[in-house]
């Protein structure tokens, strides 16, 4: 089932009542089972994009289609991994994973079984009885993955899930994520501002411009997993993205420069 993003547009009201465009003319399609990375400068609108795809937020214009179904509110077919892990602190790990099944009335036996299977998928089957405060940040994000996967979504949206982890843990989590992805074959949209991460993970990389975020560049990465982070192929793709991002930064600086200029004029 393809995920189609059609001509999304979103503006937020600024303090003076004016509208600031955040997402403009964004269209792309993610094929079933594909791993797409979205990369762009901080504050460009990546989170906003994911929230619209998930149905948490409504676009001003455009629509999201999962197969034939238009997404207008959160649905279980589209899972979401937030930047900060969303484990409920008063539940143990296993009961967190069971949550999505419990609230829809899956019988106890069955949900315990499914939750254990999901925990096994992220290799945390031995940590079921721990409370969230007792496990590390990386483990928490793994539990968050299990929580999302246990309700069997078709799509997984991930919003910089590894951004607050240290470098080594992050690398390890990327590999773990790829293993889960290869086993489950979910469609993944993975947002990051880390170029190396995008290049290591994605089948396709969508680069956003600075705000308002438009699609500036789309790259296909036809390199099979597991990938070598230091290979020349990966490096050349990295370079291409870095150049693009640098150009974007330059553009913002010029725009800012222009404003200062206008400001100075009005003072004269």
């Amino acid at each position: 089932m393809d995920l189609k993003i059609i001509d999304l547009h979103k503006a937020f009201s600024a303090s003076e009542g004016e509208r600031i465009d955040t997402i403009m003319n964004v269209s792309f399609t993610v094929g079933e089972g594909k791993f797409v990375c979205v990369i762009g400068p901080s504050g460009c609108g990546k989170t906003t994009l994911l929230r619209m795809i998930s149905g948490l937020e409504r676009p001003d214009r455009g629509k999201i289609l999962l197969g034939m179904k238009e997404i207008t509110e959160p649905v279980r077919e589209i899972g979401y991994i937030f930047q900060e892990p969303t484990l409920l602190p008063w539940r143990t790990v296993i009961r967190n994973v069971e949550f999505g099944l419990e609230i829809t009335g899956v019988p106890k036996e069955q949900r315990r079984q499914k939750a254990l299977a999901a925990l096994e998928l992220v290799e945390l089957q031995d940590f079921g009885d721990f409370y969230p405060k007792e496990i590390s940040g990386g483990m928490k994000q793994k539990v968050a993955m299990a929580m999302a996967l246990v309700v069997e979504p078709k799509v997984l949206l991930m919003d910089e899930p590894f951004v607050s982890l240290d470098c080594q843990t992050r690398n390890y989590m990327q590999t773990a994520l790829l293993q889960v992805w290869e086993k489950t074959k979910k469609t993944v949209i993975f947002v990051t501002h880390n170029v190396e991460e995008a290049v290591f993970l994605g089948d396709e990389i969508i680069c956003f411009t600075s705000r308002p975020a438009e699609i500036g560049k789309v790259l296909a990465v036809d390199i099979p997993h597991p990938r070598d982070r230091t290979s020349p192929e990966l490096n050349s793709i990295r370079k291409e993205i870095l150049l693009f991002l640098a150009k974007e930064r330059e553009k913002t600086r010029n725009v800012n420069g222009m404003f200062t200029h206008v400001h100075n004029l009005s003072e004269v």
Partner: protein, 255 residues
């Protein structure tokens, strides 16, 4: 070690009583102004064995007061908790009910006594109603605050996982707000207990109640029994809070 430390906590209480007794025995504190601890203890045993008025023993007074406090607080809990959760979750409900709540809240519970008597007559129902008024607002405000303090991402992620309103309220908002709710209950019971005794001064004319017992002791001019009654109120209030804190530790192990 810990056990010894724990019992040492009561040292200041005993210290004050001992010094007080010494000051009384040596005549520095005149007995007609403040009876000595020993005299008060006598008053206490009299209250416990013979009762005041005769036949109405201390145990009965304690139970009578406790019944009113607990029933009033229980009614406050079952009304303030759901209302607080709704006001915490829906900004619209909060916006429209806050002025109303904040206008009722400053009215001292005791100012309701005449109305309470008019509505419920003199007796248990009136007293429970006054307690209810005192206990309602701390629970309400703490529940609202507790819901507001819940990480919005928890709510969003639950909704994505398929939580409808019922599950969201029972399995996310309520446990998330629980630390705050328990604080609210502790404050509510404290206020309820304080309000109760005052309510019984005027609201109870016969039967049982610590406040009523103290007023009776005043009428027959027995300051030792007045203070014994006050001490009982303090000890019961303290014990109730201890019990809740024990329950709190149990429920909030995850913190």
């Amino acid at each position: 070690m810990l056990r010894i430390y724990r019992s040492l906590r009561y040292l200041p209480v005993f210290g004050v009583i001992v010094i007080w007794q010494i000051l009384s025995s040596s005549g520095i504190i005149p007995g007609n102004r403040l009876p000595s601890p020993v005299t008060i203890l006598h008053g206490f045993t009299e209250l416990a064995s013979e009762g005041l008025p005769p036949g109405y023993t201390l145990t009965g007074h304690c139970l009578g007061s406790l019944k009113r406090v607990l029933s009033g607080a229980a009614i406050a809990l079952v009304t303030a908790l759901p209302l607080g959760m709704m006001m915490g979750y829906w900004a619209r409900a909060r916006d429209f009910l806050t002025p109303f709540v904040e206008m009722i809240r400053p009215i001292p519970p005791l100012a309701w006594v005449p109305i309470a008597i008019l509505w419920f007559g003199i007796g248990d129902k009136s007293a429970s109603f006054i307690i209810f008024l005192g206990a309602f607002f701390p629970i309400l405000l703490n529940t609202i605050g507790g819901v507001l303090s819940i990480n919005k991402r928890f709510i969003e992620s639950s909704i994505i996982l398929g939580a409808k309103k019922g599950a969201l309220f029972m399995k996310v908002l309520m446990p998330g707000a629980m630390p705050s709710i328990i604080t609210g209950i502790r404050i509510a019971l404290g206020i309820g207990w304080m309000t109760l005794v005052a309510a019984e001064f005027t609201g109870v004319k016969s039967g049982y109640g610590l406040g009523y017992m103290i007023m009776t002791a005043r009428d027959i001019q027995r300051p030792d029994q007045i203070i014994a009654g006050m001490a009982v109120i303090g000890v019961i209030g303290y014990t109730m809070d201890l019990v809740i804190r024990k329950i709190e530790d149990r429920i909030l192990r995850w913190r």
